[in-house]
């Protein structure tokens, strides 16, 4: 097929030296993932077993509070739980009983570990097992850790999805599983594209409700839609499913490459592929080219945050004409990020981990036209005259596949256009 993307003439970044740093990391912990996961899985409840800090993070992280009665809460550990005065497992049972009595609509309950629960070694796996027996089969209880000592921001989703894999039923059926929480509208677009290619047995992880069928086995192949699903990837391999490595479906090129990988696996012929993708490809190219006008020739600097940095840098470099200066990612996993690194034109510094003050010094020295960073850094950098794009919006906004390619470029171009539009210099 002719749909494989052309590698950059000057070589890619897969073998480029990586600057590994350890120091202060300006990132969220994995609990943040609950903010979008609880919207995706509408019969799931996330009970964080943690401290007041965890509760405070959850209500602050999204920048706004979601005031429908949320499907998450924190069981806040108190002095008595820590001093061993009370049996934490008994306490947890009591809280879960209360919660499930109040919310009979809950079909899946996730016990979410936090830094304090990890440090005091509160065994949530044991609790989940016990509670599954008490409250099953109507409620399934699972556990995962969203603690900052073990997970970075989007790794919370990874830990959550990975916790579901071992309990999936076994199947021998030939099927495709698409992994990663996507907004329903985007997921439907993707299913329509795959359906058009003639691939009908497609399942999604996570499923929208607990009742939706999903099983896994040796004839399962899977594709990832998010670049932060390393643990889930490993868990699926342990169930003998096979990974289809591909660039991530951001932008026209990424989406085409992602679909082409799957099409090749399922023996889809070039005509069918063209018939299904030509029109949306043309639309996506047109939308990106319009939305990226303000980005062409501009430089971009990525602080590590969402774990989407490498694929996004590839999109900005190849489809929007930007020049990445540094591409920082919390961690790099060759099996997942290799295909995107192959396509990212050599040149930028690839960095893994963070020492935030040192990295800020590099950004200030480079004076990039656009800096992609977390919410804690955005306004301070703007005040220094650097244009920023805050990264959390990339996780909260539909950005995947053809129809969102223009929106994705728009997320980056808006701050650039805005700075040009505002006539008055800010006082500070």
């Amino acid at each position: 097929m002719t749909y494989a993307p052309t590698p950059p003439t000057g070589g890619g970044c897969r073998t480029a030296p990586v600057l590994k740093e350890r120091g202060q990391r300006e990132v969220f912990c994995g609990l943040t993932g609950i903010i979008w996961l609880h919207r995706k899985m509408q019969d799931a409840f996330f009970l964080v077993v943690g401290s007041r800090t965890c509760a405070h993070l959850l209500q602050s992280a999204a920048g706004v509070m979601i005031f429908a009665e949320p499907r998450f809460a924190t069981a806040i550990l108190e002095e008595g739980d820590l001093a061993g005065l009370k049996d934490a497992q008994d306490e947890l049972d009591a809280q879960v009983d209360r919660l499930l009595a109040r919310r009979p609509d809950i079909k899946q309950l996730f016990l979410v570990g936090s830094c304090p629960s990890e440090v005091i070694k509160l065994d949530l796996a044991k609790a989940a097992e016990r509670l599954s027996i008490t409250h099953g089969p109507s409620v399934r209880v699972l556990n995962f850790s969203g603690s900052g000592i073990e997970t970075t921001f989007t790794e919370g989703e990874d830990a959550c999805l990975a916790s579901m894999v071992p309990v999936l039923p076994e199947t021998d059926a030939r099927q495709l599983v698409v992994v990663g929480a996507l907004p329903d509208v985007v997921e439907d677009q993707m299913l329509a594209l795959l359906g058009g290619l003639g691939i009908d047995t497609v399942r999604c992880l996570p499923t929208r409700t607990a009742a939706d069928e999903l099983s896994v086995g040796p004839n399962t192949v899977f594709a990832l839609t998010q670049p932060f699903l390393g643990e889930t990837h490993a868990a699926l391999l342990r169930r003998h499913a096979r990974h289809l490595p591909a660039p991530f479906p951001y932008g026209e090129e990424g989406t085409t490459a992602w679909l082409a990988t799957i099409a090749a696996e399922f023996g889809v012929d070039a005509d069918t592929f063209a018939k299904v993708t030509d029109a949306p490809r043309a639309r996506a190219r047109a939308a990106v080219s319009q939305a990226s006008e303000a980005l062409r020739g501009k430089s971009v600097f990525f602080m590590p945050d969402s774990q989407m940095e490498i694929p996004l840098a590839r999109f900005l470099a190849r489809e929007c004409g930007m020049q990445p200066i540094e591409v920082g990612q919390p961690y790099i996993h060759d099996a997942l990020h290799g295909p995107d690194l192959d396509l990212l034109p050599a040149g930028p510094q690839i960095s893994e981990g963070q020492d935030v003050d040192k990295q800020l010094d590099r950004a200030r020295a480079a004076r990039p036209d656009l800096t992609v960073c977390g919410l804690g850094l955005a306004n301070p950098l703007e005040a220094e005259g650097l244009t920023t794009k805050w990264a959390i919006e990339l996780v909260f906004t539909p950005v995947h596949f053809y129809e969102q390619a223009g929106d994705l470029a728009g997320l980056f171009s808006r701050p650039v256009r805005r700075r040009n539009m505002l006539g008055l210099e800010a006082a500070e």
């Binding site: 005031f67 209360r98 000592i149 073990e150």
Partner: protein
Amino acid sequence: MKLSVWTYEGPPHVGAMRVATGMKGLHYVLHAPQGDTYADLLFTMIERRNHRPPVSYTTFQARDLGADTAHLFKDACQDAVDRFKPQAIIVGASCTAELIQDDPAGLAETMGFDIPVIPLELPSYQRKENFGCDETFFQIVRHLAKPMERTARVTCNLIGPTGLGFRHRDDIEELTGLLSDMGIDVNVCAPMGATPADIARMGAAHFNVLMYPETAESAARWMERELDQPYTKIVPIGAGATRDFIAEVAAITGKSALIDESRLRQPWYAASVDSTYLTGKRVFLFGDGTHVKAAARIARDEMGFEVCGMGCFNREMARDIRKTAKDYGVEALITDDYLEVEEAIERLQPEMILGTQMERHIGKRLGIPCAVISAPVHVQDFPARYSPQMGFEGANVIFDTWVHPLVMGLEEHLLHMFREDFEFHDDAGASHHGGQAKPRVVEGDQSPTPAASPLEFSDQKNADDNVIWLDDAERELKKIPFFVRGKARRNTENFATERGLAEISVDTLYEAKAHFAR
């Protein structure tokens, strides 16, 4: 373990951050796991600060726990001192670091810095954000402030304002102006805007103005004892409290309490006939103790409302609020459980809530107007315009803020008169709030009726099981405008229950109306 959906206060180390971020030349080295840096965005996003908070986090991870986290802490301290060159550092642990017991205080003290190192002990599993502010500021003052010669002119310190405080920025300006009108200068304002060097010269002031007991009462008491500085007990929120505050300051300083009040418009605005409609509106108050106590006085004595319930989320103020509530003939609700507050509001059916951003959402759900009087803060609580709560301008601002959510006087009458009008009906809400106009569904129309408002659901849930509303009465009740319907339902049911009536007819409704007429 305590199940928590939403919290009114963060953990105590966030309180310490509020003090550090308000100050200049101070750095906070916080032993904390990866992820606790989320707290930075409270300041950079909600408060729109243009600098990162002066906090270095050790951001340890699981792999560090097996090795040497103490080493990480010492490195972070050294890096912070080298890079930021602070005049002093405060050191402490967040909730997780507290568990691993690295003793940040002891570690930092052995490092031989030539600047003051102030250790913080903030018990994360017992206390909360306001305690964190109060304790941190107290420790800073205790370590740095010394008795010294008083200034020649009469001066005071303004104490209590912090980063991320509810209108602290503007309250400082308003009080500085007010005190200046009395001939009193501000020696130091702290924590907000002060450096450690400024803290060291706080002893030169003649007295302290305790702006927010939540964040600075411990420091005020210490300075009274050690520096012989009296402090003000009245928080000048509201016209009456501002006048009392002026009298209190005059008594401390011997200055004249006669100052120009021409900027104060609130008393006339409340007295002018347009405000008649505010009379006896039932309001529910919730927030931090200081703001609730002040708001109660304004509500009853300066706006002519009826206080039908009050409470606070900070237990430190429980005694004070219980006492205040008693004076107002209501029971105090002391809780940090959002669901309990919601339940109380549903039960009391106030016509307006004076609360926090959390109660704003309760109000939205129940269809009750709400004005915000207290932290926890939201990006909207940092308006671009000058918008204090304290002093004369604060009283003006509060009048505007509280009146805004209500349906205004003449509009209220028109809604009563023309309640059958297809556009100008009560489901459309207050006309100055935008929103979408909802045409009235004409009776007999086959189109589906709109879903009952949450208020109506909650009404039904609360209705006494022994009292049945007859259809006619139920229809009549629907004709009563939404902003008084809850009260009418409640009053009528109470009226029926008291008289042992099993059914409510149209007559019962109007008998109850006559009974409760005021």
